[in-house]
């Protein structure tokens, strides 16, 4: 296995609505920053890979225009996933393993403001039995929360504590959208939104983009003082059908953790992509994380959620913990599909 490291990461400030700014216009300054931090130019990138969603943008092949942000001539080696950019990172990592590239630039972007995000996400459901009813993403997450609460996996207070911790951690994150000191007891007094979820249990709607640069061992040490080495990566999927899954636990996360021989005890930090507070609890339980692990020091997706970049943001946030020396071993997690249907784990290390 070739050693690959995260050497740079930049994100746009998380905003509820960027107005008329196009995806490409959002990306250029963030790409410039990510390149500058690694002292690289566009021409030195061997491979670019992006994650975005056409249904979100409202047009087929909408992601093609975003390549302009990289300077599309002379033609570049480029690919795209119709998924969170964390999977674009995975595709790039595979290209490193094939020996084809030494530097890759990954980007994820999405403007959720123009469309109706919860309805857009209905389209990831099976088109025969489920999608025609238009069950939105919040409703499905709410069913999962109800079942987990009924089973006694955690309490509503635990969920409120997750939100309070997220907002508190986000105070230190200049890119976060929702931040501040909140008391769990006050949060619990809020009305429910889609019961049992309250509004604050759901991630916000955010426009933005994120850029991350990977480099092979040969290059990484020149580009970054303390590269964040990707020491394992695994992706597992559960069944498409909600009725055939146990929604109260994350079997695919456990499978990925098992493959990586992950010891929940030996992680300094875990950045978990949990768009809903109860899902962070399900993930923590499935990963058997202890109090030794700081969860979502960035604030996580509850503090700012660019659909299609939120998973990549966990890799970026985990890498930052490594670069700063605050962590020697970090976990980055990304999810996709309804109710944590697919999960990807990656271990990042500082040495």
């Amino acid at each position: 296995m070739r050693d690959v490291a995260v050497v740079s990461y930049a994100q746009s400030p998380a905003q509820r609505d960027t107005g008329g700014t196009t995806d490409v216009e959002m990306l250029v300054p963030v790409i410039d920053r990510a390149l500058a931090d690694a002292q690289l130019t566009r021409k030195e990138i061997d491979f670019i890979c992006s994650g975005s969603c056409d249904y979100l943008a409202g047009g087929a092949f909408s992601f093609v225009m975003a390549v302009d942000a990289l300077g599309a001539t002379p033609s570049a080696q480029e690919s795209h996933v119709e998924m969170d950019a964390a999977w674009a990172l995975y595709e790039a990592w595979l290209k490193f393993q094939c020996g084809e590239i030494d530097v890759a630039l990954i980007y994820g972007f999405g403007k959720s403001a123009p469309g109706d995000l919860p309805d857009v996400l209905s389209l990831q459901l099976d088109p025969y039995y489920t999608q025609p009813l238009w069950p939105d993403s919040i409703s499905l997450a709410a069913i999962q929360a109800q079942m987990a609460l009924a089973k006694g996996c955690f309490t509503e207070r635990d969920m409120a504590e997750v939100v309070a911790a997220s907002r508190r951690n986000a105070i230190h994150n200049p890119a976060a959208q929702l931040k501040g000191e909140f008391d769990a007891s006050d949060l619990l007094k809020e009305e429910t939104f889609v019961s049992p979820l309250r509004k604050h249990d759901c991630c916000p709607i955010t426009d933005g983009c994120s850029v991350l640069i990977l480099a092979s061992a040969e290059k990484a040490r020149a580009l970054c003082e303390r590269p964040a080495w990707l020491r394992g990566i695994n992706h597992r999927m559960e069944s498409h059908f909600l009725g055939t899954r146990d929604l109260t636990t994350s079997t695919s996360t456990m499978k990925a953790a098992g493959t990586l021989k992950l010891d929940g005890d030996k992680l300094d930090v875990a950045e978990l992509y949990a768009p809903f507070s109860h899902q962070q609890l399900i993930l923590q339980q499935s990963l058997k994380l202890t109090d030794n692990t700081r969860v979502n020091p960035s604030g996580g997706a509850l503090a700012g959620h660019v659909l299609m970049a939120a998973g990549l943001d966990r890799f970026g946030a985990a890498a930052r913990e490594i670069w700063s020396g605050r962590a020697d071993r970090a976990l980055a997690h990304a999810t996709s599909g309804p109710c944590l249907q697919q999960n990807m784990l990656a271990i990042l290390e500082g040495a």
Binding site: G20, T22, E25, V28, Y55, G58
Partner: protein, 173 residues
């Protein structure tokens, strides 16, 4: 248990609604064309003039600058094809030409239509000018130009034209 005959197919139409806002440069372009003016922008990365102003120069990956340039409504045919099928909801009768037109002063062509002319005279390098719809019908779009027509100028050597444009771009880059 008697099974029914399987149903073969179902309609599954998907409709999603979006509320778009124009980008800053697109907004200025659209307001200008509503008044009969065509705006472009010069890329800071390549020195080339792009029309309509794209916000980002695709060649260099740079944001295009705020100062937009007004361009004349005449130019040169870069490439074309003759279309014999009617366009739905258009009052144009085929055959007509769909051409990539390089406006004077621009380095990037855009597609439009050439009509009301002897189509055999359309060549690469042919000079054209815009035929606008009546002003009362002007809206926010390039369709304010109903089509282009041939001018009486001699055809241009397109390679020479592009070489000159590249020289000018290099001076500005």
């Amino acid at each position: 248990m008697k099974l029914p005959e399987p149903r073969e197919a179902v309609d599954r139409p998907i409709y999603l609604r979006y509320r778009y806002r124009a980008s800053e440069q697109a907004n200025r372009f659209l307001h200008a064309i509503k008044k009969g003016k065509i705006l472009g922008v010069r890329s800071v990365g390549t020195g080339k003039v792009l029309v309509p102003p794209p916000g980002v120069c695709a060649e260099s990956g740079t944001l295009t600058p705020q100062d937009l340039i007004e361009l004349p409504d005449r130019g040169t045919v870069l490439s074309f094809t003759i279309v014999h099928l009617p366009i739905p909801n258009s009052r144009l009768k085929p055959p007509f030409v769909v051409a990539n037109i390089l406006l004077d002063g621009a380095d990037q062509a855009f597609s439009h239509i050439i009509s009301e002319t002897d189509l055999k005279r359309v060549l690469i390098g042919t000079r054209v000018r815009a035929h606008w719809k009546p002003e009362a019908e002007w809206d926010y779009g390039l369709e304010n130009i109903e089509y282009f027509v041939l001018t009486d100028e001699p055809a241009v050597d397109i390679e020479q034209h592009r070489a000159l444009r590249l020289e000018e771009a290099a001076r500005h880059a």
